[in-house]
Protein backbone atom coordinates (compact mmCIF):
# COMPACT_ATOMS: atom_id res chain seq x y z
CA UNK A 1 0.00 0.00 0.00
CA UNK A 2 1.22 3.47 -0.86
CA UNK A 3 1.13 6.10 1.85
CA UNK A 4 -0.36 9.16 0.30
CA UNK A 5 1.10 12.50 1.12
CA UNK A 6 -1.69 14.76 2.25
CA UNK A 7 -1.46 18.48 1.66
CA UNK A 8 -2.25 20.78 4.54
CA UNK A 9 -5.14 23.22 4.24
CA UNK A 10 -2.68 26.10 3.82
CA UNK A 11 -0.92 24.25 0.99
CA UNK A 12 -4.23 23.48 -0.74
CA UNK A 13 -5.29 27.11 -0.45
CA UNK A 14 -1.94 28.29 -1.84
CA UNK A 15 -2.21 25.85 -4.77
CA UNK A 16 -5.73 27.07 -5.56
CA UNK A 17 -4.47 30.64 -5.55
CA UNK A 18 -1.55 29.77 -7.87
CA UNK A 19 -3.81 27.79 -10.22
CA UNK A 20 -6.28 30.68 -10.45
CA UNK A 21 -3.44 33.09 -11.24
CA UNK A 22 -2.07 30.80 -13.97
CA UNK A 23 -5.59 30.42 -15.41
CA UNK A 24 -6.11 34.18 -15.52
CA UNK A 25 -2.64 34.72 -17.07
CA UNK A 26 -3.37 32.13 -19.79
CA UNK A 27 -6.77 33.68 -20.54
CA UNK A 28 -5.15 37.12 -20.88
CA UNK A 29 -2.50 35.66 -23.21
CA UNK A 30 -5.17 34.10 -25.44
CA UNK A 31 -6.89 37.48 -25.80
CA UNK A 32 -3.54 39.27 -26.33
CA UNK A 33 -2.39 36.86 -29.06
CA UNK A 34 -5.75 37.17 -30.82
CA UNK A 35 -5.76 40.98 -30.71
CA UNK A 36 -2.09 41.27 -31.76
CA UNK A 37 -2.69 38.94 -34.70
CA UNK A 38 -5.54 41.17 -35.88
CA UNK A 39 -3.47 44.33 -35.33
CA UNK A 40 -0.33 43.07 -37.08
CA UNK A 41 -1.84 40.96 -39.86
CA UNK A 42 -5.25 42.57 -40.10
CA UNK A 43 -8.57 40.96 -41.06
CA UNK A 44 -6.80 39.77 -44.25
CA UNK A 45 -5.59 36.78 -42.25
CA UNK A 46 -8.98 35.21 -43.01
CA UNK A 47 -8.48 35.58 -46.81
CA UNK A 48 -5.94 32.89 -47.46
CA UNK A 49 -6.03 30.04 -49.97
CA UNK A 50 -7.09 26.79 -48.39
Amino acid sequence: MIDRVEMTEAQKKARRSRSAAIGIALAILVVLFYVVTIVKVGPGILNRPL
Binding site: D3, Q11, V36
Partner: protein, 315 residues
Protein backbone atom coordinates in the same frame (compact mmCIF):
# COMPACT_ATOMS: atom_id res chain seq x y z
CA UNK B 1 11.59 -7.10 -9.27
CA UNK B 2 8.63 -6.79 -7.00
CA UNK B 3 7.70 -3.32 -5.92
CA UNK B 4 7.15 -2.88 -2.22
CA UNK B 5 4.42 -0.34 -2.51
CA UNK B 6 5.29 1.35 0.72
CA UNK B 7 7.21 4.60 0.78
CA UNK B 8 8.57 5.95 3.98
CA UNK B 9 8.17 9.64 3.44
CA UNK B 10 9.66 10.51 6.82
CA UNK B 11 8.32 13.07 9.22
CA UNK B 12 6.52 16.16 7.95
CA UNK B 13 7.37 15.62 4.28
CA UNK B 14 4.66 17.84 2.89
CA UNK B 15 6.53 21.07 3.63
CA UNK B 16 9.33 19.98 1.31
CA UNK B 17 6.96 18.76 -1.40
CA UNK B 18 4.29 21.43 -1.48
CA UNK B 19 4.74 25.16 -1.35
CA UNK B 20 2.66 27.49 0.77
CA UNK B 21 3.52 30.35 -1.53
CA UNK B 22 0.36 31.81 -3.03
CA UNK B 23 -0.10 34.00 -6.10
CA UNK B 24 0.56 37.21 -4.16
CA UNK B 25 3.94 35.84 -3.00
CA UNK B 26 4.89 35.22 -6.63
CA UNK B 27 3.68 38.72 -7.45
CA UNK B 28 5.90 40.07 -4.65
CA UNK B 29 8.88 38.37 -6.38
CA UNK B 30 8.34 40.82 -9.24
CA UNK B 31 9.15 43.79 -6.94
CA UNK B 32 5.93 45.66 -7.84
CA UNK B 33 7.13 49.01 -6.45
CA UNK B 34 10.25 48.96 -8.61
CA UNK B 35 8.09 47.72 -11.48
CA UNK B 36 5.82 50.76 -11.19
CA UNK B 37 8.80 53.08 -11.76
CA UNK B 38 9.94 50.90 -14.68
CA UNK B 39 6.47 51.04 -16.24
CA UNK B 40 6.20 54.80 -15.80
CA UNK B 41 9.63 55.66 -17.24
CA UNK B 42 9.19 53.19 -20.12
CA UNK B 43 5.80 54.77 -20.88
CA UNK B 44 7.39 58.24 -20.99
CA UNK B 45 10.12 56.94 -23.34
CA UNK B 46 7.48 55.39 -25.57
CA UNK B 47 5.40 58.56 -25.73
CA UNK B 48 8.35 60.90 -26.27
CA UNK B 49 9.71 58.90 -29.19
CA UNK B 50 9.11 60.37 -32.66
CA UNK B 51 6.64 58.42 -34.78
CA UNK B 52 3.67 56.41 -33.65
CA UNK B 53 2.81 52.96 -32.43
CA UNK B 54 -0.55 51.17 -32.50
CA UNK B 55 -2.12 51.58 -29.01
CA UNK B 56 -2.44 47.80 -28.61
CA UNK B 57 1.25 47.32 -29.45
CA UNK B 58 2.09 50.22 -27.13
CA UNK B 59 0.19 48.48 -24.32
CA UNK B 60 1.95 45.18 -25.07
CA UNK B 61 5.33 46.96 -25.10
CA UNK B 62 4.73 48.33 -21.62
CA UNK B 63 3.40 44.96 -20.41
CA UNK B 64 6.50 43.12 -21.70
CA UNK B 65 8.84 45.71 -20.17
CA UNK B 66 6.95 45.43 -16.85
CA UNK B 67 7.14 41.62 -16.87
CA UNK B 68 10.83 41.76 -17.89
CA UNK B 69 11.50 44.17 -15.01
CA UNK B 70 9.64 41.79 -12.70
CA UNK B 71 11.72 38.86 -13.97
CA UNK B 72 14.88 40.77 -13.00
CA UNK B 73 13.42 41.24 -9.54
CA UNK B 74 12.64 37.51 -9.19
CA UNK B 75 16.15 36.51 -10.31
CA UNK B 76 17.59 39.07 -7.88
CA UNK B 77 15.53 37.62 -5.01
CA UNK B 78 16.62 34.09 -5.96
CA UNK B 79 20.32 34.95 -5.85
CA UNK B 80 20.21 37.37 -2.91
CA UNK B 81 18.05 35.27 -0.57
CA UNK B 82 21.00 34.78 1.82
CA UNK B 83 21.67 38.50 2.26
CA UNK B 84 17.98 39.44 2.14
CA UNK B 85 17.49 37.23 5.21
CA UNK B 86 19.82 39.33 7.37
CA UNK B 87 18.57 42.79 6.37
CA UNK B 88 15.47 44.16 8.11
CA UNK B 89 14.24 45.86 4.91
CA UNK B 90 14.23 42.57 2.95
CA UNK B 91 13.89 39.76 5.53
CA UNK B 92 10.18 39.29 4.84
CA UNK B 93 10.60 38.73 1.09
CA UNK B 94 9.04 35.43 -0.08
CA UNK B 95 12.31 33.46 -0.46
CA UNK B 96 14.10 34.35 2.82
CA UNK B 97 10.76 34.08 4.67
CA UNK B 98 10.43 30.49 3.34
CA UNK B 99 7.15 30.94 1.45
CA UNK B 100 8.78 30.22 -1.92
CA UNK B 101 11.85 28.05 -2.37
CA UNK B 102 14.86 29.49 -4.21
CA UNK B 103 14.66 27.14 -7.20
CA UNK B 104 11.01 28.09 -7.84
CA UNK B 105 11.96 31.77 -7.75
CA UNK B 106 14.79 31.08 -10.22
CA UNK B 107 12.55 29.11 -12.61
CA UNK B 108 9.81 31.75 -12.39
CA UNK B 109 12.27 34.59 -13.07
CA UNK B 110 14.06 32.82 -15.93
CA UNK B 111 10.81 31.85 -17.63
CA UNK B 112 9.41 35.39 -17.42
CA UNK B 113 12.74 36.87 -18.62
CA UNK B 114 12.82 34.74 -21.77
CA UNK B 115 9.08 34.98 -22.37
CA UNK B 116 8.88 38.79 -22.05
CA UNK B 117 11.94 39.42 -24.27
CA UNK B 118 10.78 37.03 -27.00
CA UNK B 119 7.22 38.38 -26.90
CA UNK B 120 8.49 41.98 -27.19
CA UNK B 121 10.69 40.93 -30.12
CA UNK B 122 7.94 39.04 -31.92
CA UNK B 123 5.10 41.46 -31.30
CA UNK B 124 6.86 44.86 -31.38
CA UNK B 125 10.43 44.79 -32.73
CA UNK B 126 13.64 42.88 -32.12
CA UNK B 127 15.73 45.94 -31.15
CA UNK B 128 13.40 46.50 -28.18
CA UNK B 129 13.32 42.74 -27.40
CA UNK B 130 17.13 42.56 -27.44
CA UNK B 131 17.41 45.67 -25.23
CA UNK B 132 14.98 44.16 -22.72
CA UNK B 133 16.93 40.87 -22.67
CA UNK B 134 20.17 42.81 -22.16
CA UNK B 135 18.62 44.85 -19.33
CA UNK B 136 17.50 41.70 -17.50
CA UNK B 137 20.95 40.13 -18.02
CA UNK B 138 22.61 43.33 -16.79
CA UNK B 139 20.53 43.49 -13.60
CA UNK B 140 20.55 39.77 -12.78
CA UNK B 141 24.09 38.83 -13.79
CA UNK B 142 26.26 41.98 -13.99
CA UNK B 143 24.72 43.75 -10.97
CA UNK B 144 23.24 41.06 -8.71
CA UNK B 145 25.68 38.19 -9.21
CA UNK B 146 28.89 40.06 -10.02
CA UNK B 147 29.10 43.68 -8.86
CA UNK B 148 26.80 43.91 -5.83
CA UNK B 149 29.05 41.85 -3.57
CA UNK B 150 32.40 42.83 -5.07
CA UNK B 151 32.67 46.63 -5.38
CA UNK B 152 31.37 49.75 -3.59
CA UNK B 153 30.70 51.18 -7.08
CA UNK B 154 28.05 48.43 -7.48
CA UNK B 155 25.15 50.84 -7.64
CA UNK B 156 26.85 53.18 -10.13
CA UNK B 157 27.21 50.51 -12.82
CA UNK B 158 24.25 48.41 -11.70
CA UNK B 159 22.07 51.51 -11.82
CA UNK B 160 22.26 51.29 -15.60
CA UNK B 161 19.77 48.41 -15.47
CA UNK B 162 17.13 50.68 -13.95
CA UNK B 163 17.93 53.37 -16.52
CA UNK B 164 17.22 51.24 -19.59
CA UNK B 165 13.35 51.18 -19.50
CA UNK B 166 12.78 54.61 -21.16
CA UNK B 167 15.33 53.60 -23.78
CA UNK B 168 13.41 50.35 -24.41
CA UNK B 169 10.13 52.29 -24.60
CA UNK B 170 11.74 54.61 -27.15
CA UNK B 171 13.09 51.62 -29.14
CA UNK B 172 9.58 50.09 -29.21
CA UNK B 173 8.47 53.01 -31.40
CA UNK B 174 11.63 53.79 -33.39
CA UNK B 175 13.35 50.40 -33.48
CA UNK B 176 16.62 52.09 -32.58
CA UNK B 177 18.66 53.89 -29.90
CA UNK B 178 19.22 57.63 -30.36
CA UNK B 179 20.76 60.60 -28.54
CA UNK B 180 17.38 61.51 -27.03
CA UNK B 181 16.87 58.07 -25.53
CA UNK B 182 20.45 58.11 -24.22
CA UNK B 183 19.64 61.39 -22.41
CA UNK B 184 16.60 59.75 -20.76
CA UNK B 185 18.89 56.87 -19.79
CA UNK B 186 21.45 59.31 -18.33
CA UNK B 187 18.91 61.04 -16.08
CA UNK B 188 18.08 57.78 -14.26
CA UNK B 189 21.64 56.43 -14.47
CA UNK B 190 23.11 59.50 -12.73
CA UNK B 191 20.20 59.80 -10.28
CA UNK B 192 20.57 56.21 -8.98
CA UNK B 193 23.83 56.58 -6.99
CA UNK B 194 22.66 59.75 -5.20
CA UNK B 195 19.33 58.07 -4.42
CA UNK B 196 20.80 54.77 -3.22
CA UNK B 197 23.72 56.18 -1.28
CA UNK B 198 21.30 58.38 0.70
CA UNK B 199 19.52 55.12 1.63
CA UNK B 200 22.83 53.33 2.25
CA UNK B 201 23.87 56.07 4.70
CA UNK B 202 21.00 55.45 7.10
CA UNK B 203 20.89 51.70 6.38
CA UNK B 204 24.66 51.17 6.51
CA UNK B 205 24.27 48.87 9.54
CA UNK B 206 22.03 46.56 7.52
CA UNK B 207 24.36 46.47 4.53
CA UNK B 208 27.37 45.93 6.81
CA UNK B 209 25.62 43.00 8.52
CA UNK B 210 24.92 41.44 5.13
CA UNK B 211 28.51 41.98 3.99
CA UNK B 212 27.61 44.12 0.99
CA UNK B 213 30.36 46.62 0.15
CA UNK B 214 28.21 49.75 -0.08
CA UNK B 215 30.15 53.02 -0.27
CA UNK B 216 29.47 54.19 3.34
CA UNK B 217 30.76 50.86 4.71
CA UNK B 218 33.87 50.80 2.53
CA UNK B 219 34.95 54.42 2.05
CA UNK B 220 33.17 56.05 4.98
CA UNK B 221 30.42 58.63 5.42
CA UNK B 222 32.44 61.63 4.27
CA UNK B 223 33.38 60.17 0.86
CA UNK B 224 29.78 58.98 0.36
CA UNK B 225 28.34 62.42 1.12
CA UNK B 226 30.76 64.08 -1.33
CA UNK B 227 29.79 61.53 -4.00
CA UNK B 228 26.09 62.21 -3.36
CA UNK B 229 26.67 65.92 -4.07
CA UNK B 230 28.66 65.13 -7.25
CA UNK B 231 25.97 62.81 -8.60
CA UNK B 232 23.18 65.23 -7.61
CA UNK B 233 24.90 67.96 -9.68
CA UNK B 234 25.38 65.59 -12.62
CA UNK B 235 21.73 64.50 -12.41
CA UNK B 236 20.50 68.09 -12.34
CA UNK B 237 22.58 68.83 -15.47
CA UNK B 238 21.35 65.69 -17.27
CA UNK B 239 17.73 66.57 -16.46
CA UNK B 240 17.91 69.86 -18.43
CA UNK B 241 19.52 68.16 -21.45
CA UNK B 242 16.14 67.34 -23.08
CA UNK B 243 15.63 71.09 -23.54
CA UNK B 244 19.22 71.57 -24.77
CA UNK B 245 18.80 68.68 -27.24
CA UNK B 246 15.54 70.18 -28.45
CA UNK B 247 13.01 67.50 -27.56
CA UNK B 248 11.53 69.36 -24.58
CA UNK B 249 10.43 72.99 -24.21
CA UNK B 250 12.00 75.85 -22.27
CA UNK B 251 9.17 75.47 -19.77
CA UNK B 252 10.27 71.92 -19.02
CA UNK B 253 13.87 73.14 -18.80
CA UNK B 254 12.89 75.71 -16.16
CA UNK B 255 11.00 73.11 -14.11
CA UNK B 256 13.90 70.63 -14.38
CA UNK B 257 16.41 73.33 -13.37
CA UNK B 258 14.36 74.29 -10.28
CA UNK B 259 13.90 70.65 -9.26
CA UNK B 260 17.60 70.01 -9.88
CA UNK B 261 18.63 72.94 -7.69
CA UNK B 262 16.44 71.54 -4.90
CA UNK B 263 18.05 68.10 -5.44
CA UNK B 264 21.51 69.66 -5.06
CA UNK B 265 20.34 71.59 -1.98
CA UNK B 266 19.18 68.35 -0.32
CA UNK B 267 22.52 66.72 -1.24
CA UNK B 268 24.42 69.65 0.32
CA UNK B 269 22.34 69.23 3.51
CA UNK B 270 23.47 65.59 3.58
CA UNK B 271 27.08 66.74 3.10
CA UNK B 272 26.68 69.08 6.11
CA UNK B 273 25.46 66.30 8.43
CA UNK B 274 27.95 65.84 11.28
CA UNK B 275 30.08 62.68 11.07
CA UNK B 276 28.49 59.87 13.07
CA UNK B 277 25.00 61.44 13.04
CA UNK B 278 22.62 58.68 14.11
CA UNK B 279 19.28 60.23 13.17
CA UNK B 280 20.45 60.94 9.57
CA UNK B 281 17.41 63.16 9.01
CA UNK B 282 19.01 64.97 6.05
CA UNK B 283 19.80 61.62 4.34
CA UNK B 284 16.22 60.41 4.89
CA UNK B 285 14.85 63.68 3.47
CA UNK B 286 17.21 63.39 0.49
CA UNK B 287 16.06 59.81 -0.15
CA UNK B 288 12.38 60.79 -0.05
CA UNK B 289 12.96 63.84 -2.25
CA UNK B 290 14.94 61.79 -4.78
CA UNK B 291 11.89 59.57 -5.37
CA UNK B 292 9.64 62.59 -5.86
CA UNK B 293 12.28 64.26 -8.04
CA UNK B 294 12.53 61.45 -10.60
CA UNK B 295 8.77 61.02 -10.72
CA UNK B 296 8.17 64.75 -11.27
CA UNK B 297 10.96 65.06 -13.89
CA UNK B 298 9.41 62.28 -16.00
CA UNK B 299 5.89 63.61 -15.40
CA UNK B 300 7.07 67.05 -16.58
CA UNK B 301 8.60 65.49 -19.72
CA UNK B 302 5.34 63.67 -20.37
CA UNK B 303 3.17 66.77 -19.78
CA UNK B 304 5.49 68.88 -21.94
CA UNK B 305 5.24 66.40 -24.82
CA UNK B 306 1.45 66.07 -24.54
CA UNK B 307 1.03 69.86 -24.51
CA UNK B 308 3.27 70.19 -27.58
CA UNK B 309 1.15 67.58 -29.40
CA UNK B 310 -2.05 69.33 -28.33
CA UNK B 311 -0.81 72.72 -29.61
CA UNK B 312 0.35 71.13 -32.86
CA UNK B 313 -3.06 69.48 -33.27
CA UNK B 314 -4.96 72.73 -32.57
CA UNK B 315 -2.71 74.70 -34.94
Amino acid sequence: MAMTAEHDMGAAPTEALFSEGNASDYFALLKPRVMSLVVFTAFVGLLLAPGSIHPVLGFISILCIAVGGGASGALNMWYDADIDAVMTRTANRPVPAGRIDASSAFGFGLFLAIFSSVMLGLMVNWAAGALLAFTIFFYAVVYTIWLKRSTPQNIVIGGAAGAFPPMIGWACVTGTVSVESIILFLIIFLWTPAHFWALALFKSGDYGKAGIPMLPNVSGESVTKTNIVVYAVLTAIAAVLPTVAGFASLGYGAVAAALGLAFIWYAVQVRRMPEGDVAMIAAKKMFRYSLVYLFVIFTALLADNLLARLFAWVA
